[in-house]
Structures are given as structure tokens and as C-alpha cells.
């Protein structure tokens, strides 16, 4: 495989060590694909086509196969996102508890504007997601890995300030 630009492989040093540990948990390399993609996303922020090819090479999978998997799961980013990636649940149980107002407040107060877009200062990407499994704590949101319960439009300002 020819390397064109200066591609910095993701799986070196600590990440590579972690990968070795992950591989121990499964009887074959393919089964390590999802955890490997998580490591890649953690290291790089998102999963590019080139990274998919690198992962494929390490696990003995074709780049197309890896891409088919990446595009199936919504939590893997296929392009860069803002410093704070925010997931807001708007499925019916949260919907009837005002989830869409929470979403609107977040989009406004972060400057992101539209769901899926990144704010001009690069700090926020807000997306609508399906049920987050905390329906009794409406409205739950994820800001990166922080799972925050009971968010209301009133609480948005403080959250935005805290994470900005």
C-alpha cells in the first residue's frame, strides 16, 4: 500500500499496547473491530477513510469491510466534530417531556445553529439521537462521555458555560 501524504498511524505506542490487550479478549481478530474503532476515534477524534484502511490492515480486514461497519454504527464519526459532541435524546418518552425545547436551546446558545453542524468557534456539534436509555430522567444528554440527566431548557446556559 503506497502512503501518499504524511499519514500518522493511529496504532503506535500506548494505543498499540491497548490493542494487544483487546485482541486477547476474542478468538479472532475481526471480533476486535468495534473496540479497535473506539480506540481510533478516541485517539484521532474521528475515523477517516485512511484510518479505516489502517484498522483493516491490522485486523486482516478489507478497508471496504471496515467502512461498512463504521457507517452502520451512529456513534463513530466519519468526519471531524466540535470539541463538545452533544447527543440529545428526542424519542417519544423524552419528547413529551420537552426534549425538543432542550435541543433548540442548545443549538441556539452554542451557536451551532442546525443539528449536525459545528458551531463557528469549533466548540460544539449537537445531534439529535434516539432513546438514550434514561427515559425517567428526561431529558438526558451526552456531552462527549459525560451522561447528564434531567436537562431542561433552563439548565442549558449553565451547561454551555461549564463545557465551553
Amino acid at each position: 500500500m503506497t502512503v501518499m501524504e504524511d499519514y500518522q498511524p493511529v496504532f503506535t505506542g500506548k494505543a498499540l499496547e491497548e490493542l494487544q490487550t483487546v485482541l486477547q479478549r476474542y478468538p479472532n481478530k475481526q471480533a476486535a473491530l468495534l473496540p479497535t474503532l473506539w480506540i481510533a476515534q478516541r485517539e484521532h477524534g474521528w475515523i477517516s477513510d485512511r484510518i479505516m484502511a489502517e484498522v483493516g490492515e491490522i485486523l486482516g480486514l478489507t478497508p471496504a469491510f471496515v467502512k461498512g461497519v463504521v457507517t452502520f454504527y451512529t456513534m463513530y464519526h466519519q468526519h471531524p466534530v466540535g470539541k463538545n459532541f452533544v447527543q440529545v435524546c428526542t424519542t417519544s418518552p423524552c419528547n413529551v417531556c420537552g426534549a425538543e425545547d432542550v435541543l433548540k436551546a442548545l443549538l441556539q446558545q452554542t451557536g451551532a445553529g442546525d443539528a449536525g453542524a459545528t458551531s463557528p468557534d469549533g466548540k460544539w456539534t449537537i445531534v439529535e439521537v434516539e432513546c438514550l436509555g434514561a427515559c425517567g430522567f428526561a431529558t438526558p444528554i451526552l456531552i462527549n462521555d459525560d451522561f447528564i440527566e434531567n436537562v431542561t431548557p433552563e439548565k442549558v446556559a449553565d451547561l454551555v458555560r461549564k463545557y465551553r
Partner: protein
């Protein structure tokens, strides 16, 4: 008839099949075609198009025929209201995003979506006011175009590349109604057997660039033939339009090529349409080659042969793409001489289809090397060329680039003859048909004799080489034995 067959009833017709047979295959035997898309006997079962749902007595829900194994006494019904409704449901769902491209789609006339909609679809759509999903056409590889709008996501192409070619370069990308067939930008669809995805695609979503907009399916005549690209002997169909070969497709043969051909063979047909053919028999007259009729040309050859016999040497330099009949007749014709027969084969890189045993694009790029060997021709070409120098008669069969030099009589049978070709020095030039223009036999590398048939007329006065050589053999007075052509 073995004892342990399973008997079941399909649409009232009893049928007996071996245990383990799928209902959809048993139905075929009973003469019932269960409509389907994702199922293909050459691919692993997916069971996802849901088109083959059938009613099976005692089963609480409709079952997919492609993934249900027969049981003794099973009663299968494909034409009851629930089964028909289910099929109509699937067709309606497929059509909501499928564009009305038939007027510009290559698949029209050989499209399984068209076929089943005609057979049992609804006359109008209930999806009218919504926009159809749109994605631009993609270039997947050297010959394959992907039209996502027409794709019904049967995944035959993905499964072919993954399980049969064993190079998963196609995937399903995204989820839900956003899904499409995808490739990775760093890996094109250039596998040596990739073209089969175009055949497998039930609709006009995967298209051959080579065939794009060349002809309509109903304009094509299809003739059974054998691929001449290598010694595997894949069974093919030559599709002709107005007597021009426009496409090559595989014919199923479970013992040779299953359902597939390689891209080399698929593209190996343009030469069959060459216009620069020898169209009339030629004999040397006053130092020049002059066109004559067959009688005169054959007489001239007989004269040469009779004049040169008496224990002299004859060398036959032949193409390993000539039919076994022609090769046998050539040998018989020269049986009064001390005979040497040889051929040379162009070699290339072998390209196996990993998921099928004993199937590959073979290194020997000729269809009948084995047939020639069986008849006594050897691969000792260079010695034969040397022997030709002093031979009384040299017969060159369909080997236009043969660099032959002889003091004896040179006879050339071929389809073409370049201006600078050494065979221009021949005493007699006889025009012959190519593989698409005659009927004949090839023997593949495994010793399998296979017949190919005539797809189009030969140009001008050209005749099959077997006929020409057979006529000559007949014209020679006894004691030549009567030819027994198979």
C-alpha cells in the same frame, strides 16, 4: 432412483428431492418459479429480500422458500392470497424509491423487477407525492458502474465478492432507507472476476461500462458457446445484435464454471467482429494472390498435395484455438506424409476464483490446447518451425503471426492475413470462420469435450475450417479413409 428422497407438494404438484434441499429449489423441480431476488444458487443464502415468502401448511407465518429445508409431507403454496399479498407488498416497497428508468436502463427486457411487477405487481403507486431517494452514479472499477437509485439492496454483489471472490471490496453502507452499496476509495472493484456482479444484479443497478447503452435485451440473439480466453472452458452465451457480437455472459455449468466467467473472458469478444477478414479463397497466379471460387482453390490444394506426396515431410502449425474437428481433419489430410504437428500457446497470469474449486483464468490463454495434444500435436513449436523449412508441405491453421519459412508448398487457412504476414507467401490462402461463426468442439484442460455453436454468419465466402479440410480430405482419392467427424 434412491430411496431416501423427501416427497412434498408444491402448488398441488408432488415432487421428490434429496434431504437438505431448499423449498425454492424443490419448487424449480416441480416447475414452480418462486419469485425471488436475493437468493442465488451460487451464493450463500441471505433471506433478506423477503420476496420468496410462501405459505407452508402448519407454519404460523409465511416462510421464505430460500431458507426453508424440505420435510416429508410438507405442503407449500405459492399462489394463495397471503403469499401473493406479501409479494405485492415487497414489490410496492421496492418501487417507491426505484426510479422509472426503464426507457434508459440497460436491464430493461431482462430485469427481474420488471418481470415480477408484470407478473403480479400493482398497476399504480401509492407513494406518489413523496420524492424518491437520490444518489449519483458511481464508478466502481474498470468495467462496473453503480446506479444507487436503482439498487434494491439484495446484496448479491456484496456476497459474491465476499464469499466467492473472497475479496470483500463491496459493502453495505449506512442503515435503513439510507443504505447503499459502497466501496472504499482506496480499493476499486478490479478483481479479475468482478464483472460477475453485473450479471448477478437483478436490476439495472450494477452495469457494465463495456455494454452500456449498446443494445436492448430483446434485440439480442443468444447462442451457446465456449469461452476462448483460456483453457478453463467456461460455458458462455454469445449475445449478438444484427450479427455482431456485443456481449459475453456466462452459462451455468456446475462442473466447469458454475455461474461465472472472468473479466478477461467477458471482454474477449471484440476480435470476433473484426472487419478485416479474408473473404475469398486466394491462389497464387503469376506471383500474385488471386481470388477464386472454392472449387478452384480446393483443386489447387489437392494438386499441390498429390504432387508433393511420396514420403515427403509435412508440417502443420496450428492454433490451439482451432476446433478439434479441424485439427483432426488437418492431420488426416496430411496422413500420406511424415507428419509433424505443433502449436504455441500465449501464456498469462492465472487468476483463480477463490471460492470455487478448480475454477480460474488459466495461464494457457487458448481453449483447445488439450484437444490438440490429444490429437498428437505437440508444443515443440520451434523444432516444428525449423522442420517446416525443408518440408514438402506446410499447413498453417489460423496462426496469423506464424513466422514460417519454407522451401515447400505453404498452405494457409485463417481468418485474417496481415499485409506483412509471412503467410502472404502461401500458395493458397483459404478463409475460415472464427469461433462465433461455426459449430465445433473444444477440449478443456481437464479433458472435457464441450460443444460451441454458431452465433453469426461467416463473412464473404469463409467456411468452417473443419469443412474446408474435410472437403479436401474427401477430394483426395482413396485410400484416404472416410472421415468420421463426430
Amino acid at each position: 432412483m434412491t430411496d431416501n428422497l423427501i416427497t412434498l407438494t408444491i402448488d398441488g404438484a408432488p415432487v421428490s428431492v434429496p434431504p437438505g434441499t431448499l423449498v425454492i429449489e424443490a419448487a424449480k423441480q416441480a416447475g414452480v418459479l418462486v419469485p425471488h431476488y436475493c437468493y442465488h444458487p451460487g451464493l450463500p443464502v441471505a433471506g433478506l429480500c423477503r420476496m420468496c415468502l410462501v405459505e407452508i401448511e402448519k407454519a404460523p407465518k409465511l416462510q421464505i422458500a430460500c431458507a426453508t429445508t424440505v420435510t416429508e409431507g410438507m405442503v407449500v403454496k405459492t399462489q394463495t392470497a397471503p403469499a401473493k399479498d406479501a409479494r405485492q407488498g415487497v414489490l410496492e416497497f421496492l418501487l417507491i424509491n426505484h426510479p422509472l428508468d426503464c426507457p434508459i436502463c440497460d436491464q430493461a427486457g431482462e430485469c427481474e423487477l420488471q418481470d415480477f411487477v408484470f407478473q403480479e405487481g400493482q398497476a399504480s403507486t401509492r407513494y406518489a407525492e413523496f420524492a424518491k431517494r437520490f444518489n449519483p452514479v458511481e464508478d466502481f472499477g474498470p468495467d462496473v458502474l453503480y446506479v444507487p437509485n436503482r439498487c434494491i439492496l439484495c446484496t448479491r454483489c456484496v456476497r459474491f465478492m465476499e464469499d466467492v471472490a473472497q475479496e470483500p471490496v463491496l459493502n453495505v453502507s449506512e442503515r435503513g432507507d439510507r443504505a447503499f452499496i459502497g466501496i472504499h476509495p482506496e480499493a476499486r472493484l478490479d478483481h479479475p472476476w468482478a464483472g460477475n456482479v453485473v450479471d448477478l444484479c437483478p436490476v439495472g443497478s450494477l452495469l457494465s461500462k463495456d455494454f452500456l447503452h449498446k443494445a436492448r435485451a430483446w434485440e439480442l440473439d443468444k447462442t451457446a458457446s465456449i469461452c476462448t480466453g483460456c483453457s478453463q472452458g467456461c460455458n458462455i452465451s454469445l449475445d449478438t445484435r444484427d450479427e455482431v457480437v456485443v456481449r459475453v455472459r456466462p452459462r451455468p455449468n456446475l462442473d466447469v464454471n458454475r455461474y461465472f466467467i472472468c473479466d478477461h473472458g467477458r471482454m474477449h469478444y471484440r476480435w470476433m467482429n473484426r472487419g478485416d477478414r479474408i473473404e475469398a479463397p486466394l491462389i497464387r497466379h503469376d506471383g500474385e494472390l488471386k481470388a477464386v471460387d472454392w472449387d478452384e482453390a480446393l483443386d489447387r490444394v489437392v494438386g499441390i498435395l498429390r504432387g508433393a506426396s511420396g514420403g515427403g515431410k509435412a508440417v502443420a502449425l496450428v492454433s490451439p484455438g482451432a476446433s478439434s474437428e479441424a485439427l483432426a481433419a488437418a492431420k488426416r489430410l496430411l496422413s500420406g506424409f511424415t507428419w509433424t504437428g505443433a502449436f504455441q500457446v500465449v501464456m498469462g497470469e492465472e487468476a483463480p476464483l477463490a471460492g470455487v474449486p478448480n475454477l480460474a483464468l488459466r495461464a494457457e490463454r487458448a481453449p483447445n490446447a488439450k484437444g490438440a495434444e490429444q490429437l498428437g500435436y505437440t508444443r515443440d513449436y520451434a523444432p516444428a518451425l525449423a522442420a517446416a523449412k525443408t518440408a514438402a508441405v506446410v499447413l498453417v491453421l489460423d496462426d496469423p503471426d506464424c513466422a514460417v519459412e519454407t522451401d515447400g508448398a505453404l498452405l494457409y487457412l485463417g481468418t485474417v492475413l496481415g499485409d506483412d504476414a509471412p503467410c502472404r507467401k502461401a500458395e493458397v490462402v483459404l478463409p475460415i470462420a472464427n469461433v462465433a461463426e461455426e459449430e465445433g468442439t473444444f477440449v478443456n484442460r481437464d479433458g472435457r469435450e464441450q460443444r460451441y455453436f454458431q452465433a453469426k454468419p461467416a463473412p464473404g465466402m469463409a467456411q468452417p475450417a473443419a469443412w474446408v479440410l474435410g472437403q479436401l480430405a474427401q477430394a483426395m482419392a482413396p485410400p484416404l479413409p472416410v472421415a468420421e467427424v463426430s
